[in-house]
Amino acid sequence: MSNEFKLISDWIQPDSRVLDLGCGDGELLNYLIKTHNVNGYGMELDPDKTTQALGNGINVIQTDLNSYDLTYYFDEDSFDYVIMTQALQVVSRPDELLDEMLSIGKNCIITFPNFGHWRNRAQLMFGGTMPETETLPYHWFDTPNIHMCTFKDFEKLCEDKHIKVVARTVVNSEHESSLGMRIAPNLLGEVALYQIRKK
């Protein structure tokens, strides 16, 4: 079980209704079902992962979040939590997806890599190349990440959209936190976990 999933589960109330966007093989949802007795659905585009999620006993809906409006399937506040781990940066319109998530979920939990981490900044500044790190292990030409942002960017978007940031945890690629990360998250943090809701 990844540390990130443990950190997320700390934010989840038992017996709640959860939607996991980009649920992969359903590991997180499975964990939450076992530890927090949640119920809900996973959504996943990849056929192989959908099949695995089914095999893991998850209720999974195969959907392309880029071309399908979540509000078609779900009414307002249908879920206690809508979770999306490491997928915000790969969708075509993260801002619109955020609106959809906040519409159908009372709380949303989002994790994404920080493009503002010092190592990324250093590679671009001193090497003059697009960053390749453990958190961002892709070349510029084959990366699925089409909308990279920094923590600062994300928080600016939240502010503009009147989204309330309820909690934030900043960690490194091993999902561990440190004093430095707490002091200078945008420079030293590699991955952030945000809990947000409508204001």
């Binding site: 056929p47 192989d48 099949t51 695995q52 089914l54 209720n59 809906i61």
Partner: protein
């Protein structure tokens, strides 16, 4: 591995009248069905397969004439629907022409062939009659109901009409009701049959004829809607049969030849009854389970307690993925246990019968869940 012993058709004779949705009554009838695998001791492992338009009870294995079941690729020992684990049942729909009472049967009231006098049956009526088969087999609850296309519609109807009798509902390449375009295609097929001079107002058996031309045309049209443009393009393109254009109205393109072959095979070799074809297409047109619930599919499916798997195919334009989304949405509105897979395939509506790794993977993993729930049901007793 396939089922090796020749399969046997059983008959359930029902001597109580069946009140039909149309208002008519069928005084008595028979259902033809086949079974595969063993019913376990507590009868918790029975699966009912519902057939599509031109299907019948011979769904798996090889019958006495050497004919393979229409879904043999998916049903048998070790296959997706594993007959080592499940007791699989498939019946011929009422109004069919493969052994169940239908237009080719003798009307007990006058000793003549029913023909066009056979009453119109609906999906609801089929489910009622299949429920008697369930009682006859002494099965309290189906471990799963599975069907593609028109079979998927019966599964939906079952889940609404007899919720406590269905543990899992697998709805493949189906729709919650037909679109105007779907109905229009059915109407053209029916007109093709009815305008054949050999149709004789449906009394062709008494006239010792078969409306072959009409049936051929109806099947050609139907077949066309089962395929995708891409698949036909790949398979036939604009390939010519004689190598060059003839500038006449004979068969010139390979695709014309293929369609004629499929149509003629259906009308002659398979000897499908024209009145049954009319009846089945009508039943499809009438299918609309939401109609009894203020035309709200969510309300209709609020009755259902089964767990659902819904599957669609990307190139299916007869019942497109969009139609499956409607079903999924209505189930999600009810917080139902539902999973949905959209399988990439170039084979159009026909894809649900054909091999496909993603489809098989999804189906197999879901059947594991059905099996686990069967074992749990067994342990409870």
């Amino acid at each position: 591995m396939s089922i090796t012993n020749p399969t046997v058709t059983h008959y359930l004779a029902v001597n109580q009248p069946l009140q039909l949705t149309s208002g008519a009554t069928l005084p008595e009838y028979e259902l033809a069905y086949e079974t595969y695998g063993q019913l376990n001791e507590d009868k918790s492992n029975a699966i009912l397969i519902c057939h599509a338009l031109s299907g019948d009870q011979h769904v798996a294995g090889i019958d006495a004439n050497g004919k393979k079941g229409w879904w043999d690729g998916y049903i048998g020992p070790g296959k997706v629907i594993d007959t080592d684990k499940f007791f699989v049942v498939c019946s011929n729909n009422l109004g069919g022409c493969r052994g169940s009472t239908g237009p080719t049967s003798i009307n007990p009231q006058n000793g003549k062939v029913y023909g066009p006098d056979f009453p119109i049956v609906t999906c609801k009526d089929w489910v009622q009659s299949q429920n008697l088969l369930r009682e006859h087999l002494d099965v309290e609850q189906w471990a799963a109901l599975i069907g593609g296309s028109m079979g998927g519609m019966q599964v939906l109807q079952w889940a609404i009409d007899f919720p406590e009798k269905v543990r899992h509902a697998i709805v493949i390449a189906a729709a919650p009701k037909l679109s105007a375009q779907n109905i229009a295609f059915n109407e053209v097929a029916r007109r093709a049959i009815m305008s054949d001079p050999d149709f004789h107002d449906g009394r062709f058996i008494e006239h010792d004829t078969i409306p072959k031309r009409g049936l051929t045309l109806a099947r050609m049209l139907g077949h066309l809607t089962y395929l995708s443009d891409d698949m036909m393009g790949v398979k036939f393109g604009r390939e010519l049969r004689e190598g060059k254009l003839q500038y006449n109205y004979e068969v010139e393109f390979q695709v014309e030849s293929y369609l004629r072959y499929q149509g003629e095979k259906f009308a002659t070799k398979q000897n499908f009854d024209a009145n049954t074809y009319l009846l089945m297409t009508k039943a499809l047109d009438y299918f609309d389970p939401a109609a009894d619930f203020e035309h709200d599919l969510s309300k209709a499916l609020a009755q259902a307690t089964a767990k659902f798997l819904v599957v669609s195919f990307t190139s299916d334009w007869r019942f497109s993925p969009q139609r499956s989304h409607e079903i999924v949405k209505a189930l999600l509105d009810n917080d139902a246990d539902v999973s949905y897979a959209e399988v990439k395939s170039e084979h159009g509506h026909d894809a649900f019968l054909l091999p496909n790794p993603h489809y098989e993977g999804v189906f197999r993993n879901y059947m594991k869940r059905v099996h686990q729930d069967t074992l749990a049901a067994e342990a409870q007793k």
